[in-house]
Amino acid sequence: MDYRAQIGIRFITRRKGSLIAASLAVAIAILVVQVNSVIFQGLYNAIVRDQINYRYGHVYITRNEDYITKSDFMLINWLERIPWVQAAAPRLDSVAQINSTVNGQLIHDYNVQVTGIDPNYDERASTLYQTVGSGQYVSFRNSIVLGAMVDRDLGYPQVGDSVKLKFIDQFGNNVLRRFTIVGITQTAGSQGVDSGVIIDIDTLREILNRPHETGSILVRLNDPTKADDVKQLFLSAFPSNDDKFKAQTIEESAETTLSGFRSGIALINLVGYFGMMSSAFAVVTIQMMQVSSKTRDIGVMRAIGAKRKDVLLVFIFQGMVIGAIGAGLGTVMGVGYTEYAKETHMTFQGSLALEVQYNWMGIIQTDIMAFILAIIASIYPAFKATKLEPVEAMRFA
């Protein structure tokens, strides 16, 4: 082993207090970044997961600025012949004014989002039906599932009660329709249809006077990595200008929701990296103390022939030891926390279950950054050490 490395390692490993303090500073900085990653990347992944499960599927097919007029039956059959496609389901969205009478009191009208689903297809392509906590999913023509927030706003009507919805059809006519509540849907983090209602798609088509029309088709894949392939297959199979189909992967369809969140994650990561900078100051302080306590040894080394760059390298190696131990410790702590979050199905603020994944690339990047930072933090103390003249160093030590 290089003697400068040997001395650097001995200097720091035989000062256990300094080594533990400096390594912990690095490790805690890594842990902070890891915790941020587990929570916020987990939250991001959870949102993506729920957007896939409840709203968009892995591939989301619409028609540019219009309704899909081709038969949904035909399109779904075509899609489900692709080996990577698990299932596909049609959806039709609209808006209606809703009111309810509870204990003889009319809860005034307000607008809600109405999602029309086909119960047969939807239960295979989406997990929205699993979010119905009380009651059941849409099962007959005039049944309705209320979002939990709508239920609350309407004064908590129960399953079996009725609500009235007023639609405007495609010709501008008001259509008033009474529905029987069959279930209440509630999702963690309100990622589902908590602020809307779900009805049968054929009922909605009839109300809007849009027979056989579909708003969108969500496609669930058994291999999510093939989303782009499925998208391209679909678009190349239906290239006609008349169709004007638009197919999007989840990253594209949920872009509006996710882009803001990505910025938030970037900001949180920045805060984490600033935390890492503060750990670098701790390393600088401890290294300065090391230089101070080793002044005599530096003087002796210089007297017996070590050059200034040799002294510099001793403390750089010391920084490398701190960086390596800190990075190792931080990784263990970070992976431990990730495992804990994964095993306990950690939730965000007690609601949305985080989608925790090991981001090994991120872990390695953070480790490398912390390691390099520990070395950089050692440069100034090391440089100060090289400025010591041997006679002065030995005299004042």
Binding site: Y3, R296, D297, M301, G305, M394
Partner: protein, 232 residues
């Protein structure tokens, strides 16, 4: 190989500038031949340690020149000075100044490692440690041995690179009388056995008995008539 391993010509050392300038040494001229055992003596503050630092190339004279093994050291830059110190000079300090985080053997080997000539060095170090009676202590950390033992390790470290001159600054100053006597005996026997040149700063001249030359420093000058005194 020049006869003189050390030539000091009109060396002068002044600290500070202008009105605050203090002359620590002036008109220092003397030579040392290979294999000589030299004492530099003088009272506290006389400038003997300053002179040793200049000979040891740890400090530069304000004026004059110092030639070690025929090389004018004033022409050497900082890096070359370090290499030169490493290969031509050995140091023994009053407080031994071993690196406490290294073992005895590692301390002895350090000058060789700095030099980059480690082949066979471990065996040489073991042989030297055996010579000074510390073979059994070689794997102990330096802070786990006694002061007398530490000073013998320092002597071994000073010799490992086979320097032209070994410089010792009060080598017995921090030792009890028995250890001091052992150390003096060891230095003198190494001088005879290895024909190794020693220059020793001490305030305890009688402790060293007969030597080749004594340089007496008083108020920064060599006291006339004392330079060539030979007690051997």
């Amino acid at each position: 190989m020049p006869d003189n391993v050390l030539e000091v010509h009109n060396a002068e050392k002044i600290y500070g500038e202008g009105e605050t300038a203090v002359t620590a040494l002036q008109n220092i001229t003397f030579t040392v031949k290979k294999g000589e055992f030299i004492l530099i003596v003088g009272s506290s503050g006389s400038g003997k340690s300053t002179l040793l630092n200049m000979i040891g190339l740890l400090d530069r004279p304000t004026q004059g020149s110092i030639l070690v093994d025929g090389v004018d050291t004033s022409t050497l830059d900082d890096n070359h000075l370090s290499s030169f110190r490493n290969s031509k000079l050995g140091f023994i300090f009053q407080f031994s100044n071993l690196l406490s985080d290294l073992t005895v053997l590692e301390n002895v080997l350090l000058p060789r490692k700095i030099q980059g000539t480690v082949d066979g060095a471990a065996q040489e170090a073991r042989t030297l440690l055996k010579t000074v009676g510390l073979e059994s202590q070689m794997h102990k950390f330096a802070n786990k041995i006694s002061g007398g033992q530490a000073q013998r390790v320092a002597i071994t470290r000073a010799l490992i690179n086979k320097p032209a001159i070994v410089l010792a600054d009060e080598p017995t100053g921090n030792l009890d009388s028995i250890s001091a006597e052992t150390t003096v005996h060891l230095l003198k026997s190494l001088n005879r056995k290895l024909n190794q040149t020693f220059i020793i700063v001490t305030h305890d001249r009688p402790q060293f008995g007969e030597v080749d030359k004594i340089v007496t420093i008083k108020d920064g000058r060599i006291v006339e008539g004392e330079l060539e005194t030979s007690l051997r």
